[in-house]
Amino acid sequence: MANPVVITGYGIVSSIGMNADDVLNSLIGGRSGIGAITRFETIHKGKLPLAEVKHSNEELMEVCSLRSNRKYTRTALLGIAAARQAAEMAGFRPGQALRTGLISANTVGGMDLSENFYPQFLENPAKGRLRDVAGHDCGESTEAIAEYLGVSDYVTTISTACSSSANSMMLGAEMIKAGMLDRVIAGGTDAVTRFTLNGFNTLMILDKEGCRPFDENRAGLTIGEGAAFLVLETEEQALKQGKTIYGVLSGYGNANDAYHQTASSPDGTGATLAMGKALAMSALLPSDISYINVHGTGTANNDLSEGVAVQKIFGEKVPSFSSTKSFTGHTLGAAGAIEAVISLLSINHHCIFPNLRWSTPMKELYIRPVTSLIRDVAVEHVISNSFGFGGNNSSLLFSKYNPIP
């Protein structure tokens, strides 16, 4: 690759840790973030599990040193908490004569506050506090993050359901390759809301016991919340500035399953195309891949479709794979970015993380996930899959950075 796009920083906030070190420790220690609902009132309390970030909004504001007289959505607060870590790690400061972009992603914007607005509004359209609905749109949290970091050269938001933040990294890399930006902070954020919890519940795809990806008896996903951001720039620029490089975004692809609005195709069309595109761009062979961080939601449909696609691409030689959603829950619009950070942790700390709560192989597949931690293993190339409603399938391919000899 002429001038590869590399990663010079990352930040993460999730139910298994408020920064990359804590997340790594939880992944190594096998500590899942899935547990009882505590943060908000819902009839599903005590019945359905969630992977919540335990910090309250006030605590998140404190973590980010934000003044308290402004009302932030939780989506924005989680995003700021993760993006500031990524920016700090990459030594980002505004006004370094580099054109910097912020590309964020989410699925329900400021729905956490809209849920406070609507009960009164529905009683009487003249009621309901307007400041609770002013940040309803998906762009609000991105604007808040951009303002916090001081990024203004390019700011946008992507929403393609559960592949949203994988797609923000794809756009970031494309804009750098096109010479439109020098550096991009790309990722996504999503807060758990009653809207999403009930939405997925109507589809009857929430596992009461916590998600069991790729298990024969899996009964659905577990919703989580969190945020993650990566700092992308060219290798040339990173080296010129003496930055540490944590990995290379060596390939990516987005494809549409075009099968059904919510269900994945039984033959894994979109997933196969997305992984194939990522491999083709990187000029790597399937046999070069050390680890697949699968989308692995734990629904009957996704895991079968994705598993079929993995078998199609990798044949008899399927690399180690696991769904770390068994730790973080499905963080929806943040999932692609959270799993990108986990992929980089895998590469840099020579670990392959287990797929928790797995016991029985799926009868339709011959592949089985990694179920206990593998340490001191060379992880050269990782594929991270993110698939969403509307058949939106994305694969990212991260590689270990090997300095030019």
Binding site: Y154, N256, F389
Partner: protein, 357 residues
Amino acid sequence: MISEKAIYINGLGNVSPQKTTDNSHFLDEVNRVQSNRLGCFEPNYRDFISPDILRRMGRLIKMGVASSKLCLADAGCGMPDAIITGTGLGCLEDTEKFISTLIRNKEELLTPTSFIQSTHNTVSAQIALLLKCHNYNFTYVHRGWSFESALIDALIQLRNDRASTVLAGGMDELTNNSFAITHRLGHWRRKPVETSELITSAGSGSIAGEGSSFFLLSSSPSDGSYARLRDVLTFNLSPAGKSLPLILTDFLERSGLSPENIDLVVCGMNGDNSSARPYKELADSLGGAGIAAWKHLSGEYMTSSAFGLWMAAMIMKRQHVPEIAAVRHQSGRPIKTILLYNHYLGLNHSFILIQKP
């Protein structure tokens, strides 16, 4: 900067508060109303979508699918290499329906349809599903930059040779609830205003609108090409930052042009006093150019610049500014270069530059 590869607008499809579904007419007959909100003239959706699918579809999805089909037919394109949409608020009607039922029913007896359709990428997903299009499919949701972000991505896909045709569009719907909320936020005129008077009558607030406009962008020209899409910029204005005319000069320079080359500015002026200043500043700095406006015809919404681009592309092809859209006439020179300038509530400023193919 990316290589200057020519990109063409080869097809248009527009569902709007005006009669815009037939590209052989161009605002010949204007929908004049006395109101502070505009709703779409919706086509007979059965012409585009089979009845069994139509029954469950939310209104924005219908508008989106119909306008995308009009656009593909106009361009003679069967299968685009990419589908990229921008929407400020997505399928609002379904979102409101799900949250209202959730609150009223206290989280019980909910059905999934409105939740499924509330997802912001539903329009682009449904277009892909109906076409069986497995290609690149993205949706941008950044307020007044949603459509511009889609266009910028389309330019990247075309110029990075990822695609040779891109179906790009912007869409938003107006609901009674969203109108009530934005009305309380002071976005709209208190008193109804006549269509042709919105731009000229000073007042507080604009009129609410909606629409869905698609463009078939291609790296090859066709006999029916409307325009060349040269460049797109999203920016904000700040007192300490560059002035608007300077931002424009730098933007035009990327295409090897200068302000004197602009023949017509298609402007997002919306009749709201507090939004007017930047439009006036730009118009004043481009004394030789004609000025046209679109928001009295479409209403104000987060992706209304998509209607603006539709209008600009039609003007380019026909070399004619309809009387209802003209704000300042120019000297009758040919229209070779059109600048579209918009901002949403003083934020999310954007330029879109098109030229004669």
